[in-house]
Symmetry: C2
Subunit: 295 residues, 2 copies
């Protein structure tokens, strides 16, 4: 007796950290009869082959999506329009397409201009990751205990949302729905600005005089070490996130620079009370974060 | 047969994360015949008692240092002068005093004005820690595999340096010597600015509209979550560090704000090349950090 699978064929477009991790879940839990993977890079396709997770590997995205009832985009958000344009006319009517991008409104806008009307797009963002990238960086438990945010529009098909929700729940995620623009604002603070700041401070170190740079790398402890980990994240993916979420990022960056400048002034004037009061306030936020989930 | 101990009596002045961790090492490895601990806070003294590490607990620092041949300051750097003034005249001639502060030049300046000439001060900074504080946060392996930087002046006694070096090596640290001001500049970048930035960004979140703040805490993932951990560090200790290392912190903060402003401009103008080139550069720094030591 064979059980009915959630999907017949899932086509993974792009096979980096997120898609390769999800493909492992799909294979282990038997969520699809067939798994297709597309990558434009020959080196990546060779790595996918070695992993032995997928049934068919493609160098042509239009071929990869043929016969698929679910297509999952796992590519830098800046590549969305061009990539989807290439295979849009090869999608079967009724196919569900979803994505895993860190920015949602721009992806919705891009896809609405290139997808046929009979395709169901479900914008999604599994909030999980590491600073590593590439198919070999993936692992099955990556998503466990984290949130996946789905940002439907008024046109998004309810049944399609349910099926995409099931995929992420099978991966161990809690799924929530949110307005796309609000998602982009929340993520600007929780993820995009922290990455931007980490990139910036590690960039400042990269510009230091050589002898000082050597000592900094040698004695990198707590703080800076954490920042280098964040600033080791995929360059193209993050370049696209900052540009695609430009409005929210610049808004939050503006607030941050204001606050940092005030802090600079407190230090210059040795305003002990202002410093201590800020640091007590941030400790409370930490308690809030820890109360919701252990590190 | 009893082996000769490294010290007769070690007096720990302050008993937070660092001193309580080191006291555990001293006890386990038998580095001293007697361990004294002083804390001005009754609550802390009660916690020390429960830990059962030290032989005598004092509410009077002058009593605590009597008969000690090594005194270890583990207090916020801003409290250095007042605390040491209180017990300076109770120190026996030849006693070694050392500290664990994150800022070195200001501590050297403060102590040179209050210590008698026959006392050997060895400025030291074990670069290890967590965001937790208090005697109960300590643990014996805290220092293992990390660096301890000693910043002697031209007057520092060579034998005293050797004995302090032995203590930290027994705790599992590698010990290096460095000029105090240079140490302060290196630490401004590797530790003080990252903490400042984390405090600032978490402070920005604390000021957000309530509904947005709730979502940010709920969906705190990678980046922001790491920042809240850093920004949960001891408020008084860090207030003092920023003020005592004001010059180096403001210098490095100035460079950082310049670079962040350039990055802001790159995003506004969607300068993909500038962004990608920066992010590739920071990835190289990460590789340098990882090559020296695994996370």
């Amino acid at each position: 007796m064979t059980s009915v699978k959630l999907f017949k064929t899932i086509a993974f477009i792009g096979f980096g950290l997120i898609n390769s991790s999800l493909a492992r879940v799909v294979k282990t839990k038997g969520l699809a009869e067939k798994i297709h993977a597309y990558s434009r890079s020959e080196a990546t396709r060779a790595k996918i082959k070695k992993l032995n997770i997928v049934d068919n590997i493609y160098d042509n995205s239009a071929e990869a999506v043929k016969g698929a009832d679910l297509v999952i985009l796992g590519i830098p958000v800046g590549a969305t329009r061009d990539t989807v344009s290439t295979f849009a006319s090869s999608l079967s009517p009724g196919t569900i397409i979803t994505d895993v991008g860190s920015v949602k409104q721009s992806v919705i806008d891009k896809l609405s201009s290139v997808l046929p009307e009979n395709i169901n797009f479900v914008p999604a963002h599994p909030i999980a990751g590491t600073e590593k990238s590439g198919p070999e960086a993936g692992f099955e438990t990556l998503f466990e205990g984290h949130w996946c945010v789905i940002t439907p529009t008024k046109n998004t098909d309810k049944e399609a949302i349910k099926k995409v929700t099931k995929i992420w729940e099978s991966a161990g995620m809690q799924v929530a729905e949110m307005d796309a623009q609000y998602h982009d604002l929340v993520l600007a603070i929780t993820s995009h600005i922290p990455h931007l700041v980490a990139y910036s401070i590690v960039g400042t170190v990269a510009e230091l005089e050589d002898h000082l740079k050597t000592e900094v790398i040698k004695y990198a402890a707590g703080g800076f070490r954490d920042f280098t980990r964040i600033a080791g994240s995929d360059p193209v993916m993050w370049r696209d996130i900052f540009i695609d979420n430009k409005e929210a990022v610049l808004e939050m960056l503006g607030r941050f620079i204001e606050d940092l400048t005030a802090l600079q002034k407190s230090i210059r004037w040795e305003d002990k009370e202002a410093l201590e009061s800020l640091f007590n306030k941030t400790r409370l936020i930490r308690k809030g974060v820890v109360a919701l989930k252990q590190d």
